[in-house]
Symmetry: C2
Subunit: 418 residues, 2 copies
């Protein structure tokens, strides 16, 4: 087994070849796509071994995330072609000034260098992350979860074959062979070898990265998302949005976890909410939503009494914490105290309250009259995403290709001195 340090150094050394071969990038992506198809049998075989080993240890949601099919591999390969067709994020001139002394200063988008990603379960992240990194001119270090090791390794083999087909070094996509905690810690501390670290996974992994990382790190994903129904909210719209935000895919980070209701509409809205999310879903044989209610909400409808921790929990499940608030200011203050800065929505017909909410709520995405579920690179028109940043430095919200670049100033003169 090669050590994490060896892999990091090989990838760093391969980087200049990519930087000076921008014209080969799309050719490499097309070759990778073809190799994913031609390697399908090997990938499926490796995946079956992972799934069998996982079967005894993990639940069905995890098994579903882990399992590959011929169809899913075809989707991965098609995804690679779509990324190849996106505009090149490298080399964009972000600004250009000619100074009075004749110097021309161009602020130019350039790759970050080596991007590392630590992720769990889903093997398709292996090809998504590698391909987004390559398209933006970066080398990449992949460190997947133990449970998907064989699948990831087989996918990386296809990627390496594709790179070789295009005449690029395999080391541009470095695959960490060691899947215990130590290798993740080594990535967090690889100053000078890793230019950006993206942890994609559970809250524990992300916390560990933020606390330990000595390399630049992007905090991603955790979403305690709020919907606030204002006094003037259209109640039908509110119910549609809350049902969508809560139940269309409760396990994802942009799902709603908390509903705040203005006191003036609580008496009318809450009984209808219970009917929609509990009674009607039960009648349709769908999983009913467990409502965890604050004291004021419990005066109107029945449900589980909410403990204080319920307003600070990313449930990722059919559970919704509900509180009644006095006005938009109290809603904004509640969000400031409890949000993770991911996505929040206001449902209102009052333009000045909408304005106040979008101005004062300090989250990556702030919605007026639509569902929080739209926070996603594809839905935002970015074409793809590497993860969703909940921090404010460098990138915020869905990270597409542009967020995988930095810039440099290139200054041309003819002898200017200061």
């Amino acid at each position: 087994m090669r050590t994490t340090g060896e892999i990091l150094r090989e990838t760093r050394e391969a980087l200049p070849t990519l930087v000076s071969s921008r014209d080969l990038k799309n050719e490499a992506l097309r070759a990778i796509s073809a190799r994913l198809i031609s390697e399908t049998d090997n990938i499926l075989k490796a995946n079956r071994a992972d799934v069998e080993a996982a079967g005894e240890l993990y639940g069905s949601v995890m098994i579903d995330r882990l399992t590959l099919t011929e169809e899913r591999i075809k989707d991965m390969a098609e995804g690679v072609i779509k990324v190849a067709e996106l505009p090149d994020p490298e080399g964009r001139i972000l600004s250009r000034v000619e100074r009075p002394n004749g110097m021309v200063i161009e602020k130019t988008a350039v790759p970050l260098g080596v991007v590392a990603i630590i992720y769990e379960s889903r093997p398709n992240v292996t090809s998504d992350a590698a391909v987004l990194a390559l398209k933006s001119g970066n080398a990449v270090i992949l460190r997947g979860g133990r449970e998907a090791y064989r699948s990831n390794e087989a996918i990386v083999r296809a990627i390496h074959l594709g790179l070789r087909d295009a005449g690029l070094p395999e080391a541009l996509v470095g695959f960490i062979e060691d899947t215990d905690h130590r290798s993740a810690d080594e990535l967090m501390e690889a100053v000078g070898l890793v230019d950006m670290l993206i942890p994609r996974g559970g809250a524990g992994l992300i916390r560990r990265c933020v606390e330990r990382a000595k390399v630049p790190c992007i905090q991603t994903g955790t979403g305690i998302c709020h919907v606030y129904a204002d006094a003037s909210a259209d109640l039908d719209m509110t119910l549609d949005i809350v049902e969508n935000a809560k139940t269309s895919r409760p396990s994802v980070c942009n799902a709603e976890e908390v509903l705040l209701v203005h006191k003036d509409i609580a008496k009318e809205l809450l009984p209808r909410l219970k009917e929609r999310l509990v009674d009607q879903r039960q009648a349709k044989d769908l999983v009913p939503v467990e409502l965890r209610l604050d004291e004021k909400a419990r005066e109107i409808i029945s449900g589980t009494p909410a403990g204080p921790e319920d307003f600070d929990t990313e449930f990722l499940d059919y559970i919704l914490a509900v509180a009644v608030v006095n006005d938009v200011d109290q809603a904004i203050a509640h969000i400031a105290a409890h949000s993770t800065g991911h996505s929040e929505a206001i449902i209102t017909n009052d333009a000045s309250n909408a304005d106040k909410f979008t101005t004062l709520v300090d989250s990556a995405a702030v919605y007026v009259n639509c569902s929080t579920r739209f926070t996603d690179g594809g839905e935002f028109g970015l074409g793809c995403e590497m993860g969703i940043s909940t921090q404010k430095l460098h990138a915020r919200g869905p990270m597409g290709l542009e967020e995988l670049t930095t810039y440099k100033y290139v200054i041309k003169g003819n002898g200017q001195t200061r």
Copy 2:
């Protein structure tokens, strides 16, 4: 004395007032400028006490940095007015898309929130940092050095009076009263209270921040800047640029520390370099530059033999490390191994080597045929600067007002669900 924690919480609580009072920002800056003038006597008195106390402990360069005069305070006040006149970096629409479902997504520049700065000696940083932060809609936490404590306190008093004149809370500019290491460490760990930390000072402070900080931190300043004289370099231009880059202000981060010379021009260039930087300067009663030469350079001229550490040292002094290289590739490789990513220059008449150098050298500013000394917010036309970032995430190179903002996505719909 108020604790650092108390000050941080007060500033965080004051922030929403600023976010919802964008229209008052410039009024506040003008009031601060006026108060700096009207408080001149108090500031000078406090500064004299700092200078007297420092006199026994520090050298003359430090005393010069610390000392304020009526003229310098007037410059500070005028600097504030200039910042007030710059365009507002808040509220810029960075992109706008209307999605097929009718949702409108605006990527909008917004303040970061609370920006903290840890700095040393120069009291004018107090007003510069506060004013840049306020102009970009941020609250600020100032933590200056012990040796300038009284001066900083007096300047902050003027700023607080100006804020009060404009009807804004004083706590928007938080001044840390404790100047020992503990308060700096508290800022580095103030997760949720500090949105961006900028250390401005010596290499030790910056290293400590990068290693300890749990809040987002910008690595600034350290500059081991290289000038590479290519085979086709104009020798007169090279000498002008090297003299400027090395001697115009050796104590600053954009000064040259290393000269790399192509072997084909070394025999002609190096004797002229010695004449220009050593002999002519001595004749003019200027400080001569100490040349620290690698083996090949010592075959051509005399000088101090360079130890390996000389190519990894930010001298900030009249010292220049000199090495002879075989070609542009070796120069680029040397820079990759030894640079801090600040500023590098190539002197050449070969367009393809210039292109290779600007593409492969991975620094904030890469120059062709001009001096590294231009890496500066004012010289780049940004109007001002908060510091010079040598990292790649969020901001690179001089940080002006735009670099003190982040963005949020504001999405408006009429009931869209996913």
